[in-house]
């Protein structure tokens, strides 16, 4: 298959993830949608790596996976902390930080 097809799939997944981040209100699902966006970026990186025949892009994707794992750990820790303080698990209710 042409590399362009992979890039189109990657763009679609990225847009679906972005739509989820914008529309959903549960922070857990927002984290899941962030995962989708990071995975879309990974797919694009690997497609470009294949296009050039250079494995450096795969290293880049591996580092992105590490960063995503860190983000999951910290994000889920935040959600557990929110839950323990008996605050609503809803990003629209947690708006004290907004300017």
């Amino acid at each position: 298959m042409d590399i362009g097809w992979y890039l189109v799939v990657s763009a679609l997944i990225f847009c679906i993830g972005a739509g989820g981040v914008l529309t959903r209100r549960n922070p857990l699902v927002i984290l899941l949608c962030l995962e989708l966006m990071l995975n879309a970026a990974n797919l694009a990186l690997i497609a470009f790596s294949r296009m050039h025949g250079n494995a450096d892009g795969q290293i880049f994707a591996l580092i992105v996976m590490v960063v995503a794992a860190c983000e999951v750990a910290v994000g889920l820790g935040l959600i557990v902390a929110i839950f323990r303080r008996k605050l609503p698990i809803d990003v629209d209710e947690l708006k004290e930080l907004q300017g």
Binding site: R25, L32, L36, D56, Q58, L76
Partner: protein, 240 residues
């Protein structure tokens, strides 16, 4: 053949992604993410990234998803209805997402990269194999590799600090230390090897004074019972 696999995997990945966004119950969203990740790792295999496909399945579909399932079942079903003004916001964000996709498509098609229409560089044996990835990680990309390990350490410590119990609930430090709460009193020779072989006989135990409750929080308080149950440190008084 590869085209067929590509379309199956791509449709699977897109369906999984739509499921993550559209399903109301977060638990089903996580399950949908698993399907998405498996389909995506098939796409990685088609792009000859064998090591990354394996890492994707093991790290994401294995570890990260289990973490998500734990937190979903801990926090509970957070199905939230759309609030006031939610529908308008949804339409605006859908418009934004559509524009984003159009922009990305223009960027891809108009990039002028002639190789995008090709099947990629000629295949070299060993491309994307664990050997080549490991060699690159330990020679050319040693500094990012070490930084990634440092980042993982910081994230682990940070997650523990964030999720730890703070002021508000009673912790173990708040309860005054009472020996009988943790140590079962017993006579001098009981539980020793000498007793086991029959060389020594433990003297009959003296009748123990009834323990008094040293819990500062009354046990009838539902909060305290809840805290004990959630920590798994509930120590029934009549346990011997």
């Amino acid at each position: 053949m590869s085209a067929v696999i590509f379309f199956i995997a791509a449709i699977g990945a897109l369906t999984g992604a739509i499921g993550v966004v559209a399903l109301r119950n977060p638990f089903y969203s996580v399950l949908s993410l698993v399907g998405h990740l498996l389909a995506l790792s098939a796409l990685f295999l088609l792009l000859r990234a064998e090591f990354l496909a394996a890492a994707q399945v093991i790290v994401y579909a294995g570890a990260v998803t289990v973490l998500y399932v734990f937190v979903v079942s801990y926090v509970g079903d957070g199905t939230v209805p759309l609030g006031p003004g939610g529908l308008r916001l949804r339409n605006v964000s859908m418009l934004f997402v559509g524009m984003l996709f159009v922009e990305l498509a223009i960027a891809i098609l108009g990039s002028g990269l002639s190789a995008i229409d090709g099947k990629g560089a000629p295949y070299v044996p060993g491309f994307g194999s664990p050997e080549s990835i490991g060699e690159a990680l330990l020679t050319k990309f040693l500094l990012p590799f070490e930084l990634a390990s440092l980042l993982l350490l910081v994230a682990a410590v940070g997650a523990v600090m964030l999720a730890r119990r703070r002021a508000g609930g009673t912790t173990l430090e708040d309860i005054a230390y009472d020996e009988s709460r943790y140590i079962t009193p017993r006579s001098l020779f009981s539980g020793t090897m000498a007793e086991a072989v029959g060389a020594l006989h433990a003297p009959p135990e003296a009748p123990r004074a009834p323990r008094k409750a040293a819990d500062p929080v009354p046990a009838s308080s539902p909060r305290a019972a809840d805290d004990d149950a959630s920590r798994g440190t509930h120590n029934p008084k009549d346990e011997d």
